[in-house]
Subunit: 204 residues, 2 copies
């Protein structure tokens, strides 16, 4: 693409380095910003720079945070005896948005994947073990909320073995047919598993 | 959405003000930037701010430019006797990328649209007329490359009337079946027009 202005070209090149944004979209965004007031571009660029330079990671759970310890770990309204283990930061947001969980989190920063050279030492697993050993009131349960992939299952298996050796109860989030899902269109692995792990209605 | 960090929230809010980018995409982009080196966010925000504050519009053709007069208008390699009239800045880029045109441009900044309160006075039509009157060597032809919509056609009609009164030759880009397009799937208006405005092979 030939750009009529070096300034536009630089901006388009920078914007198109973002994932999922090509040159055409980047140009559209740049031209949109040109049409807006200068303050729009100012606050956008300041917010990005401020976020990148000032954001911290919680020393306990490794979630993003504005302080040394994140709001969830510091809160006295959360149940400190349950820890939910997730792969990445967006998973914490997703679970928080359900408003169904009131415990703490632990962000592993990935899952075990020999294909990509990610072993247990690259993840925050040691930090999870340390956290459980040092917890004042003790940790009653660890919920594994890892992806339902081979890598996720491997990680779940690895973490479960370590935790079981320490006598901590381990659970995993339920796999099955999504709410609103039709049996007919559900893949057979999920459907088969949902039958095997069926929930007893009469006992409830 | 509940954000674990005010800094992230601010950045997500700013990014999601861009057209076509929602909160989820904005969060994905923000987390991507957090994973990259600080220099990536730095150069991105600087490029955006620099573009917005320093970019100029060409005093002749109203295209974006780094100087008072844009590279195309200032070039002595372009044919100054032809002006191509377009709606917006991306149209100039699109035509430049074809490498089939060597004349000058004129960006109207929109098309006549009574529905949206855009009349001829809101567009750079007067500036086009002034340009044609003041051209040293004279303008032989004006090519209208406006969108094939009702508004585009209205604008073409309006500009054609003004130019014809001044004795300037006016042409418009060809409408027809796109290269590689199948007759079967072309809409009947385009197909009908392509028959009416057929091109004589034998005379060529």
């Amino acid at each position: 693409m030939n750009f009529p202005s070096k300034l536009i070209e630089d901006a388009v090149n920078e914007i198109s380095r973002l994932p999922g944004i090509g040159k055409k979209t980047a140009l559209r965004l740049a031209l949109h910003l040109l049409k807006q007031k200068e303050s729009v571009s100012e606050s956008l660029s300041q917010a990005i720079l401020k976020m990148r330079t000032e954001v911290k990671y919680c020393a306990v759970c490794h979630n993003i945070s504005d302080a040394e310890i994140c709001g969830i770990c510091a809160s006295n309204k959360r149940d400190r005896s349950i820890i939910c283990v997730v792969e990445e930061i967006p998973d914490v947001l997703a679970i928080e948005n359900t408003a169904q969980y009131n415990g703490l989190y632990h962000v592993l920063g990935g899952v075990i994947s020999p294909m990509h050279g990610v072993g247990p030492d690259e993840l925050k697993i040691a930090s999870l073990m340390k956290r459980i050993e040092e917890a004042d009131a003790g940790v009653k349960e660890v919920i594994l909320a890892l992806p339902a992939t081979m890598e996720g299952d491997t990680t779940s298996f690895y973490v479960t073995r370590l935790l079981s050796a320490r006598g901590v109860k381990v659970s995993t989030i339920a796999r099955g047919i999504p709410i609103g899902g039709e049996l007919e269109y559900t893949d057979e692995v999920t459907l088969g598993r949902s039958i095997l792990t069926r929930v007893n209605y009469s006992a409830e």
